[in-house]
Symmetry: C2
Subunit: 645 residues, 2 copies
């Protein structure tokens, strides 16, 4: 628990210059296609015009019918502002900056004298301010505005939006809390808690940290605030449409929670803030709750590609091992929030299990959320499709597109965390990072073709010899990593703690660490309680989980099977979607040629014919010819193996 | 086609005295439990009180809200009257007869001066008579009333209900047809067509046959009657809620139909009437359509246990090979109607494929529709359940319970069909049948423990030696049947036509035919286009399809697998649900013991542990401890077999 008192700090994306064959093109698409496309959608749907509450009668009609602008659309704009700010930080763009400034001006102009700032509850239903925290996302909106203000300030140095959200946060602080006269409320959709911690970090004002702590601690206390406010509105709490406060993780105090339940994005935003508070306060009880929840999530309720929240019904969790493939919800935002949470866990508990999940979600469940052209999005990410699942351009509730945009724009911020004496490397991306450690400016250069190849060369540049620990993540997916330092093998056994090889030395300019991670294609098997995957196998190579798309097969997808002993070959295909590694195997296809007009027969099962089968990275599916897809493929001829063998 | 001109006639159930270890207890439960229970439900739901249109204000409220009495509830009463009549024929019961007479009196009293008779459209919406044949089941109701009238007359000799429905049929004949001034309509839900053929049979009046023929021939003609009547009501036919006239098999003329589509009960009632007409008229074009439709149904769209209509959405057919297990609709009424159709096909095309399907549906998809206690019913018959599927006592639309009751009460009528010179035996049930053939009274006695044992001894009793063909069905499920006549082996090769062994001889009193049908437990494999069944196997023994219920297993059901080479043993269990044959095998259960907190792993698939697995007849499931069930079980270790091997 020593780390808990000295939590690590992420190295900001602004200090990490990415020049990577995998990520640089994706960041360019994000900058040149996604961010402009989202802005156009915000504009076309009336969000820009209505921002801050400039609400025409036409928009009022459309908005209240719910067909274009939803109740909490401020958050869509705020997430776009955050994404655009990150983009501006690394790629100045006066036109984009003008759009950002315009939105900020609209927000500033709309802020109420008391500091309140919410488009819907200013223009459409001003009489309903704060009366339904359970359902109406009012503080969630505030959270995203605060995150945008922090991001904008950090990225551009401009205070305009930060000042607005600071005033708003101060107003919120005056409304909510345990003090007499305040409302003891908190939001049905966690978000503002982690935003307030960010605001505290950038302003140093402890009242924001205190407010976040209050909201975390108050959550789930009895009498239940959401029930009290329901009665105050004249509603019977028993009629709550979601039926249970598990939906918003307010069914009990957060420290008593040990199973991930309810709406998956709410859950992971909450857990992110809990991890933040654990770090800030050195709160071991909060850390323990986070650890239990992370363990439960990743050992009972997570898809193989890092998607979480299996059900559309509650956009969230159901029961252990209930992970259907075709109907998988696995919302893109939930996978993004899982990354937020995992990064925060790494701050206080440097263990590769968090980074492994962060990486898994990032390269699979998150990246699948956006098309190769950067302008189409998955909200839900199924693991199997009959062929009618495609990324649309937009959603009535478009939470995922700007969430993707802000993450991809700031991906450099997930590579490293550090203290004064240690740098931990979590992700392998070709890049140059400049940071302060051991009292010196240190540049860390990674050269790699990750995730397609497992070789990483890390060069240290320092003006003067500098002493610090360099902790390299040895991914959990890698059975036999090898590390050399200036060509000398490093004995990983004694130097590895919780999956990180800690190289403690005084570094000289030009020192080179080489990390070799063999990347065979591997079969992945699911726990036998996951009914959807019984008898089937998935393929994984390094951090990449694969999928089978009809376009790559010569027989109908559902008839394919993979022999248990078939060799699996990886091949980089430079011409497929900008270059990616595909997997090939000698598969089998069930044949119907001797079935004639037979529907059932007792003579023999369907015969099989040899058939090359190919798999693409899951994130890349639905970017070529539309058709069926599945992650899990039937395994044929698996030997029966006893548990002792 | 010679048979077509001399169609066979079913031997009435009244002439077949069943004394069978399998069927007699089921008929007793039907008589003592099911028929009384349905009557109570008809009474409690207000149907008895409202019959004929005696409609209290309270009932009007309840009825028009649709929560108790549906639009076409006359058919529920009519099917009960039919079932009760059959029961009275074999088991006189003054109390039951009084209930029957009371209902008939209510109907007679309610018949309108013009002959019209419909509770709803007399009492609730009299102004809407005949304006929506597409949706409102008015002629369907009439059909069931007619069937009840015929059945009541045949069973009891009383004319009261027959006279009522004859007047009603005459009125319908005056309303519908191609003559000037008549409506060129027909019912959206076929039923009256086959009822009119029955009415023709019992009255000899050809106008009923003509009316049935008109309705069959008019169906699907352009301009489409349902579109015309929709416009006449002021509706746009394009807004038809079912979207397509395939729903009611009126998308094209019946002779042009070659794929089973739409609502499964509508389809099979229609096809039954088409087969009737083919028989009456010697109509080879109708017969050809029926043959094509039967072939399509049974080779592309039927469940392994004889259930049909896979989707709840349209209560019917979807696309070829779309046969999901958990969501299987497989309505009990549809399986019953398949029996009606198959029997009619046997009349004109003596081929065992019809009797095989009749038997399959009867012993599996139909019998599953009623609980062992006779008072709970499945409407849908899924082939897999997570454990939350149970038979309720009643349904808002309770079409299945009385349909089951009338079938089980009259099951003796499905054993034989005959001409003047031939008797065909379709089902094996211990019984004594007395019939006229070859100018003589002949008694055929079957002694058998079918379906649990495959031995049938058939004794012929005649006063004088009598010449006729005795055609024994050799079931398609039986690979090697053996027949002896008075102890002498019969060479089946030359004597078997279309699956019937035709024994042509002059029969002496006491002649004994013995039929031996070896009944091994067999694995059944599904066509590789049935995605739901890939890699899985079902078990069948004789006509009985098996299911695996959790109550019989020592490991969670979904984890079980059946090795491809496991021996399958049948054992009669006298104490299970009155006695039934279970199947046992040395199975395997996937083990989670070496998974700890692992959700996915690449080292090896789940280990397996030996595990006895047991299966019960599908029809018997959900009669003991509630729990998961599945018909298809994963096969483990199936050898890969090329199509040429």
């Amino acid at each position: 628990m020593a780390r808990l008192l000295h939590p690590m700090t992420p190295v900001s994306f602004e200090r990490v210059r990415i020049d990577d064959a995998f990520w640089s093109p994706r960041q360019r698409v994000n900058r040149e296609r996604t961010i402009p496309q989202i802005y156009r959608q915000l504009q076309q749907t009336g969000r820009v015009a209505a921002l801050g509450g400039v609400w025409s009668e036409e928009l009022r009609q459309r908005g209240t019918r719910g067909d274009i602008v939803h109740l909490f659309f401020d958050s869509d704009v705020a997430k776009w502002l955050e994404a655009a700010s990150y983009s501006l930080a690394l790629h100045p763009d006066p036109a984009l900056e003008a759009l950002v400034d315009d939105l900020i001006a609209r927000l500033a102009a709309a802020q109420q004298p008391d500091g309140y700032l919410n488009s819907w509850f200013t223009a459409v239903e001003p009489e309903k301010r704060w009366i339904n925290l359970r359902d109406w996302h009012e503080l969630y909106d505030a959270g995203h505005l605060i995150e945008a203000g922090v991001a904008h300030f950090e990225a551009t140095g401009k205070r305009a939006l930060l000042d607005v959200v600071t005033r708003y946060a101060d107003y919120i602080d005056s409304v909510f809390g345990r003090e007499p006269g305040k409302r003891r409320g908190y939001c049905g959709h966690p978000e503002i808690e982690l935003a307030l911690v960010r605001l505290y970090h950038v302003t140093g004002a402890t009242r924001y940290l205190n407010l976040a702590r209050y909201m975390i601690d108050e959550r789930g206390q009895a009498p239940h605030y959401f029930d009290l406010e329901a009665r105050a509105r004249g509603d019977d709490p028993a009629n709550f449409w979601a039926r249970t406060h598990q939906y918003s993780q307010s069914h009990c105090p957060v420290r008593a929670q040990d199973e991930v339940v309810g709406h998956a994005v709410r859950a992971t935003y909450l857990y992110s803030a809990m991890a933040d508070l654990a770090a800030e306060d050195g709160d071991v009880t909060l850390l323990a709750a986070c650890q239990k929840l992370f363990q439960h999530l990743t050992t009972k309720r997570m898809y193989v590609m890092g998607g979480i929240g299996s059900s559309m019904r509650n956009e969230g969790f159901t029961s252990d091992y209930d992970l259907p493939n075709e109907s998988a919800y696995a919302e893109t935002c939930a996978a993004i929030a899982l990354i937020f949470w995992a990064q925060r866990m790494l701050r206080v508990d440097l263990d590769r299990r968090y980074a492994d999940i962060l990486e898994l979600a990032l390269y699979n469940a998150v990246l699948s959320g956006v098309s190769a052209d950067g302008e189409h999005y998955f909200y839900a990410n199924p693991l199997a499709s009959d062929g009618d699942t495609h990324r649309p351009e937009w959603y009535p509730c478009p939470c995922c597109p700007p969430n993707l945009a802000r993450l991809i724009a700031s991906i450099g911020g997930y590579l490293y965390t550090q203290t004064e004496t240690e740098v931990a490397v979590h992700l392998y991306v070709q890049s140059a990072a400049t940071l302060q450690v051991g009292g010196q400016v240190v540049t860390l250069r990674q050269a790699t073709q990750y995730p397609w190849q497992g070789t990483v060369t890390l060069t240290v540049n320092v003006a003067d010899p500098t002493t610090f620990d360099l902790s390299l993540r040895l991914p959990g997916w890698c059975a036999a990593p090898r590390v050399t330092c200036n060509g000398e093998p490093v004995d990983l056994e004694p130097s590895t703690i919780a999956g990180y090889a800690r190289l403690s030395r005084t570094w000289n300019d030009g020192d080179v660490i080489a990390l070799e991670m063999p990347m065979p294609v591997e079969r992945v098997f699911a726990h036998p309680e996951i009914r959807a995957d019984l008898g089937a196998v998935a393929l994984r190579r390094g951090p990449i989980v694969y999928a089978f798309e009809q376009v790559d097969q010569s027989a109908p997808l559902h008839r394919l099977a993979l022999p248990a002993d078939a060799a699996l070959a990886a091949r980089f295909e430079p011409d497929v979607l900008g270059g990616l590694t595909m997997v090939e195997a000698a598969g089998l296809a069930l044949s119907s040629i001797d079935w004639d007009d037979t529907l059932y027969r007792s003579t023999s099962p369907p015969a099989v014919v040899p058939c090359r089968i190919r798999a693409v990275p899951y994130f890349a599916w639905d970017n070529r010819e539309p058709g069926p897809m599945r992650v899990w493929i039937r395994e044929l001829g698996a030997p029966a193996r006893g548990p002792q063998s």
